[in-house]
């Protein structure tokens, strides 16, 4: 009953012919999978392996492979191996299951069932490589009355954020990810003309210089929030919720509150960092207005304020309330959104998919005539440029990416961020592990990813004969559903393919 190895998810194959006994695998694995006995025998703890692929990639002779465990305890269509394993875990520990990264279930993703249009004959497609193709987006900034000065010239405003590409890096706190990972996000954002988000762990002093590319987050724990912090960023984001754990607070255990993490969060070393489930100064929508206003007051109305909410059932009405609360940007985080740690059951069962939430919110704000008052950012598993295009055509101004950005810098999706033992130096505070993430290389790769997406977005837009991203925003006629029922099509506001 207690043989964890029998139930291990993965199995490690070591090719004796190829192994040169260098021991690199042992040194590289923070999970302690490999151990060489004094007699020179290798003990391999399959059950500790998270399949992060570090040893496989580092092995100089290619002697290692991690495969799905070939030992398969009984499971069936209803009681999957995972379901059984989870019951064992809870029975043994009495603990709440804690997982990392987004919901892994194979429930169909709506983005995969939406197809994009292209021009044929009646209007021309546009060559994005040789003709102007615009992906610049502005977020925030309100449409007030048309005002003129005494010469009759328009009175213009200059607030709001300018993005050269409609992709921002979503909130991941310093603490949940490493110093080097934050450095990569900050520098890549600056290079790309977009923004990264501090998350709720404050802003490291070293990164104040990237302030013009930074969105500072204010969450319920208010860690590291003070006037300089609020003024350091280009915008302030109030985190009301997160797609991976709607309605749930956060908890960074005291053992992770070390060194600079403690200093940045402005709490003593070793003290638990608890983010309450709600903001205790927001129990109602009018209180949200109060927090938005107080942040604006504290920064003299110079910073746009984002409000990030998890996509929940009544999201359209909630978003409409937020739009009327003085927020400049609404961030919708979908059911599949990533996390550094969330209770498994919450992550996998609470909230709704971003596609439906986004479509519902955009439609509602338009029905109420207030869509132009706010910008919309969609997040929660944007995996590629086609997802970006579909999200924008459904009604988003821009998207947030988190997981994709981490993968770009080397994450191998082993889904163990909460362990703090990230072998790729991303979701860890262990200095030796952190040093494995080369900042320059990380920046190069992340800039590479977003640049490639930008080209693809331009390519897809060009195919539709659209040369400015704002003409794609909410342009749902450019989308068709595939295999969706009429209710789903209705909510998404799109027609079925063939119509």
């Amino acid at each position: 009953m207690n043989n964890a190895r029998a139930r291990a998810e993965f199995e490690i194959l070591k090719d004796k012919e190829r192994c040169i006994e260098c021991g690199l695998c042992e040194r590289q694995c923070a999970n302690g999978v490999y151990k060489k006995t004094e007699e020179g025998r290798w003990l391999i703890a399959d059950e500790k392996c998270v399949n992060c692929q570090r040893c496989v990639e580092m092995c100089p002779t290619g002697a290692l492979k991690v495969i799905k465990n070939r030992n398969t305890p009984r499971s069936d269509g209803n009681w999957s191996a995972r379901a059984v394993r989870e019951v064992y875990k809870q029975a043994e520990t009495g603990g709440v299951l804690l997982s990392s990264m987004g919901n892994p279930s194979d429930t169909p993703t709506y983005f995969d069932r939406i197809l994009i249009n292209a021009s044929q004959v009646t209007n021309p497609s546009i060559d994005p490589l040789r003709e102007p193709m615009e992906t610049r987006v502005y977020l925030g900034g309100k449409k007030g009355e048309t005002k003129r000065d005494k010469d009759g010239a328009l009175v213009t405003e200059e607030d709001g954020l300018r993005l050269e590409v409609p992709v921002l890096f979503s909130a991941m706190s310093y603490g949940s990810i490493s110093y080097n990972a934050h450095a990569v996000l900050a520098r890549a954002a600056q290079e790309l003309g977009t923004y990264y988000n501090t998350g709720e762990g404050g802003l490291h002093r070293d990164f104040y210089k990237y302030g013009a590319s930074t969105i500072v987050q204010v969450a319920s724990g208010r860690f590291g929030v003070h006037k300089d912090y609020l003024e350091a960023g280009a915008a302030i984001e109030i985190k009301m919720g997160q797609g991976a754990k709607p309605g749930i607070g956060g908890h960074l255990p005291g053992e992770k509150i070390v060194g600079d993490i403690a200093a940045t969060r402005m709490i003593p070393q070793g003290s638990d960092a608890i983010s309450p489930a709600p903001h205790h100064d927001i129990y109602s929508i009018e209180d949200l207005r109060q927090l938005v206003d107080s942040l604006k007051e504290a920064t003299e109305y110079k910073k746009p304020v984002f409000v990030k909410v998890a996509a929940v059932h009544n999201i359209a009405a909630i978003a409409s309330g937020i739009a009327r609360s003085g927020a400049d940007v609404i961030v919708l985080d979908g059911w599949r959104g990533g996390t550094g740690a969330a209770p498994t059951r919450i992550r996998d069962n609470v909230g709704i998919p971003i596609e439906l939430a986004l479509a519902g919110v955009d439609s509602r704000l338009r029905a109420e005539g207030i869509r132009d008052r706010v910008s919309l950012i969609a997040g929660g598993s944007i995996r590629n440029s086609a997802d970006v295009v579909k999200a924008i055509a459904l009604g988003a101004d821009a998207v947030y990416i988190g997981t994709a950005a981490l993968i770009a810098m080397g994450c191998h999706m082993c889904r163990n961020c909460h362990s703090g033992k990230c072998n790729w130096g991303i979701a860890t505070q262990n200095p030796e592990l952190v040093s494995r993430l080369d900042i320059n290389e990380g920046v190069r790769r992340l800039v590479g990813l977003v640049t490639a997406w930008k080209h693809e977005i331009e390519e897809i837009m060009g195919g539709m004969g659209i040369n400015a991203i704002e003409a794609l925003r909410g342009n749902r006629l450019m989308l068709r559903g595939l295999g969706l029922n009429s209710r789903e099509l209705d909510i998404l506001g799109i027609m079925h393919a063939g119509e």
């Binding site: 900034g141 449409k143 048309t146 869509r371 400015a468 003409a471 909410g474 342009n475």
Partner: protein, 363 residues
């Protein structure tokens, strides 16, 4: 064809020919010239829609809204007239005179009313006259099945039908009207709606728009403008472009030139290079009204009281030529349409993409 394929039920892409001219000295011309001009571009139409709008044609009723109506039957006519009667003071009504021709068939009932909002109703609505009239037109077009307001401006009128434009002009006896400016349209829709309301120009109050091309931003524009009280009943580009102009100019107080910087906004690269004041203005207009940027091919002529405006999309994907001769400014999809009525001109040029051409009657 089944009505589910009519304008409004589906979106019908359409290619086209456009033409227009204005006598800047206010001199009146009959409809003969504009018919000859648009007829030159016969091959740009396919017989599925043609139309005209003339300005200055109703001097004797110039203070009244001239409401042009299509009715499918007498029942809806009666119903609509009751509605008009409840809301307006109707000082004159008549059939619009037509000349029967075998080339124009299946005509609906075509009527014209000269009206003024009833002062009591207007006061009750708390709207200005224009807004009151436009809302009544939306009411009729949205809720009264079989009735369609196809023109409702002052001292102007649209005339349109299914057919080639030259036959449509003949049918409406345009030679009997005198206008200081005319615009015309020949339509090339990709399928056959066969509905008169779907022909162009598209009108709202004194704006009449003819347009060539299929825009790629349609649904982004439609969903944006529908937030501000407009209803895109026809799902055509021309309709949405008309509403955008109406919204920006009448409701937001922009000038026509500023409105054009929204509709055919300069590229960011160009904006970034502009002198500071101009740059700020261009950036402001593009940002604030980002949902109203029109992309994809279009050339548009907008008629309004006292003027014509022409604009191309910013990539100039459709042809458009402008010419001047004496006190007249001509605009057309092709030069031949101008030469047909003004063989020699003082100046002829093709405006650049996004360049605004405005010609107005001297006051």
């Amino acid at each position: 064809m089944e009505s589910k394929f009519y304008e409004g039920a589906v979106r019908i892409p359409s290619g086209c020919a456009i033409s227009g001219f204005i006598n800047r000295d206010g001199r009146l011309s009959d409809g003969g010239a504009i018919i000859r001009s648009i007829a030159t571009m016969h091959d740009r139409s396919n017989g599925l829609g043609g139309g005209f709008a003339g300005y200055g044609i109703y001097p004797e009723y110039k203070d009244y809204y001239a409401v042009h109506m299509f009715y499918e039957d007498t029942f809806v006519k009666k119903q609509t007239e009751e509605f008009l009667d409840e809301h307006f003071d109707i000082i004159n009504l008549s059939k619009i005179p037509v000349r029967k021709t075998p080339k124009i068939v299946d005509e609906p009932l075509i009527w014209r009313y000269f009206v003024k909002p009833l002062p009591t109703k207007l006061a009750e609505s708390q709207l200005d006259e224009d807004e009151f009239v436009s809302r009544c037109a939306f009411r009729i077009n949205t809720f009264m099945k079989g009735a369609y307001v196809f023109s409702c401006g002052k001292n102007m009128g649209a005339f349109k039908a299914v057919g080639y434009p030259e036959d449509v002009g003949e049918f409406y006896r345009l030679d009997e009207y005198a206008a200081y400016s005319w615009i015309a349209h020949g339509r090339y829709p990709t399928n056959t709606p066969g509905w008169w309301g779907g022909a162009h120009p598209f009108c709202l109050l004194d704006f009449a728009v003819v347009h060539n091309g299929e825009i790629s931003s349609y649904d982004a524009n439609r969903r944006n403008i529908e937030m501000y009280g407009y209803k895109c009943n026809l799902q055509t580009d021309t309709e949405v472009i008309t509403y955008i102009f109406d919204y920006l100019v009448r409701k937001r107080g922009l000038t026509l030139r500023e409105a054009c910087k929204v509709i055919a906004a300069p590229f960011w690269e160009q904006i970034d290079r502009m002198p500071e004041k101009e740059r700020r203005e261009a950036e402001y207009l593009r940002r604030v009204y980002s949902g109203l940027l029109v992309t994809g091919p279009f050339s548009v002529i907008l008629g309004y009281t006292g003027g014509l405006l022409a604009i191309n999309d910013r990539l100039k994907l459709r042809g458009m030529v402008v010419a001047e001769k004496g006190n007249t400014t001509y605009i057309a999809s092709e030069e031949c349409a101008i030469r047909a009525i003004a063989p020699t001109v003082d100046r002829i040029y093709a405006p650049k993409g996004g360049e605004v051409v405005i010609a107005e009657v001297n006051r």
